[in-house]
Amino acid sequence: MATSTETRFSLDGVGRVSLAVAFVALQALAFAAAYTIGRPTWYAFFMIGSTAVTAYVLRRDSFVVAAATMGSILMVALGLPLFMFVARQQPSIVVEKALSSDVHRMLYLGIYGPLLAAIVSLLFGIPLAHLFSEGFAGQQLVESLVDLPLVVPHSVAGIIILFGFGSGGAFPNVSVLGSMIGMVLAMTFVSAPYAVNATREAFESIDDRLEYASRIHGASRWDTFRRVTAPLAVRGMVTGGVLAWARAVSEFGAVAVVAYSVSFFYPPAGGEVTAQHAPVFVYGTYLQGGLAESGAVAFILLAVSALIFLIIRYLTSGSSTTGGVV
């Protein structure tokens, strides 16, 4: 590629971080100002314009400016409702809901249930993902089955689970309707593809010769998986688990059909309680209490989910098993 003779800003790592922080701070200030004067639409135009100008100043490349501008339009569509959602919360209602025992149960179930679903997805998804990475006859058929929940409407997924495992289903002694098992099954059904696919990509990225090297120098297949394959794929497994968990947290359709209200052991109460999965609870609150109350519950759920997501990212980002060299 020819060397550009145009003057461009060149930023090192620290410079990039500083610029990013400054850009975010500017956006926050601009949104606060626009919201305060009752003109949030102005902020949308400011965000698009400021992104285009920043791209031009940094790169002076019409292609980059066009890409950044187009991308910023999508960011407005995604980000502006979120900013408005946060800004329009009424603190008193948020505090009231944050102190509600119903909300506490909802949060517990909303984290605990998806965690079980993610564990189940990984426990049985990792071996399947490893088989996918090695290849086998009929693989495409099995892959299609694994990916099926991605294209099936989730209320339909719930119906399918009831037909398969509900009354008159394959396991008559297992109660799924309104039970914890049913809820975890519904969540696993919709979140397993994320766990399997992320883990499979991690396995596929490992050079076959690393496994050959392990085998030829004495390790069995089990030891090779334990000492070489799994440590090298652990990031993919964690990513798959987080994606599965996040997908299960947000699941509404399948859970609403299979387990609208769930009885489960709730440690703070020292016994069984009944609660609803978070998205179902938010929907119920919206129907009964309106936008303000459901918004407050959603805000709390969003904050807790984001916090957990950030904690997981923090715990996994610097903990490479290679000492941070790969």
């Binding site: 090297a213 085998r215 030829i216 390790a219 440590p231």
Partner: protein, 325 residues
């Protein structure tokens, strides 16, 4: 320990025609066998098949004991890969000691690393090492388990020239008493390290023998060309045919180092090209409708008329089509 393998395996890749490897190799105790062949000839697949990485038909035996049905970890081989295949999540020390828990009799990792000149790297991770350093660590890992046979898959191919030469010297020392199978497409490396050579092409062994036999008495034009000989169809070089006094519908192979250029000789030609190579010049001389390469310390000018003197002992007549080994 001697190794004998007579294996047959078919490999398929998405979107590609299947590739069949059907080859027999034999290595005596303490011998270095080099499998030499062009890229895509199946050398690496043969080596990996012998190691047990791929399903195959036919026996692999160690000292007469069949190991074909044995998994790779029980075959007692060491393996050095072209792109090192060091475990990136383990330190150099952990890599070298990887196999120690599976073998009773192992070599001291630190001692091996010191012998190979990389003792200072023990706590480093492979991605932070140069190619030459990584390959020395990979060699140490393979030697640490005291393998009965060490298999090496183009271990020098990814290295720069000075590093390659240095490591080749070290490999020559390491392989001096070892039973080894060494895969390469580099004839210089093959000549430097081999007790015996097999030439592979299209999944099959096309010739096997000592380096002298392979380089000076190739059985086919393919082997001759691949080992660097001139291959001259005498129908295209009548003056050479009369100078050599060779009849029939023959192809002759002549080592370039056996051709002397001068003011007098067996046959006359015109200098077509001169390429400077380290301490010598590679000169291409056209004769009739063909050309012959020779080495000359003093470079003639392109277009000069020169005489070629051919050492009859180094002229080999071979068949036009390749026979099976």
């Amino acid at each position: 320990m001697s190794l004998h393998a007579d294996v047959s395996a078919t490999f398929t890749a998405d979107g590609a025609e299947s590739f069949h490897v059907d080859a027999e190799i034999e290595v005596e105790r303490g011998e270095s066998l080099v499998i030499l062949g062009p890229s895509g000839s199946g050398k690496t697949l043969l080596l990996e098949t012998v190691a047990g990485f791929h399903p195959h038909d036919g026996p692999v035996t160690l000292d007469g004991e069949r190991v074909s049905d044995t998994s790779p970890e029980k075959r007692d081989f060491g393996f050095v890969f072209q792109d090192y295949a060091l475990f990136p999540h383990m330190t150099v020390r952990e890599n070298v000691d990887f196999g120690s828990r599976y073998h009773d009799d192992t070599r001291d990792g630190e001692e091996l690393l010191a012998e190979l000149g990389v003792a200072a790297l023990t706590d480093r991770y492979p991605p932070t090492l140069s190619g030459g350093e990584q390959q020395r660590v990979a060699l140490a890992r393979a030697l640490a388990v005291r393998p009965e046979v060490i298999l090496l898959d183009e271990p020098l191919a990814a290295l720069d020239v000075p590093t390659r030469q240095s490591l080749r010297d070290d490999l020559a020392d390491v392989l001096a008493d070892a039973t080894a199978v060494y895969v390469t497409h580099n004839r210089t490396t093959a000549r430097a390290l081999a007790d015996r050579i097999v030439i592979m092409n299209d999944g099959q062994v096309v010739q096997s023998g000592t380096p002298e036999e392979i380089f000076h008495r190739p059985k086919s034009p393919m082997v001759a060309r691949f080992t660097g000989s001139n291959v001259v169809d005498l129908d295209d070089a009548p003056s050479l045919r009369s100078a050599l006094d060779v009849g029939g519908d023959d192809v002759v192979t002549i080592r370039p180092e056996s051709v002397a250029l001068g003011d007098d000789g067996d046959v006359r030609g015109t200098v077509e090209r001169v390429v400077r190579e380290d301490a010598t010049n590679r000169v291409t001389v056209s004769i009739d409708r063909t050309s012959v390469e020779a080495f000359a310390e003093r470079a003639p000018a392109v277009g000069d008329e020169v005489w070629l003197t051919l050492s009859e002992n180094d002229i080999h007549v071979c068949r036009r089509t390749a026979p099976r080994a």
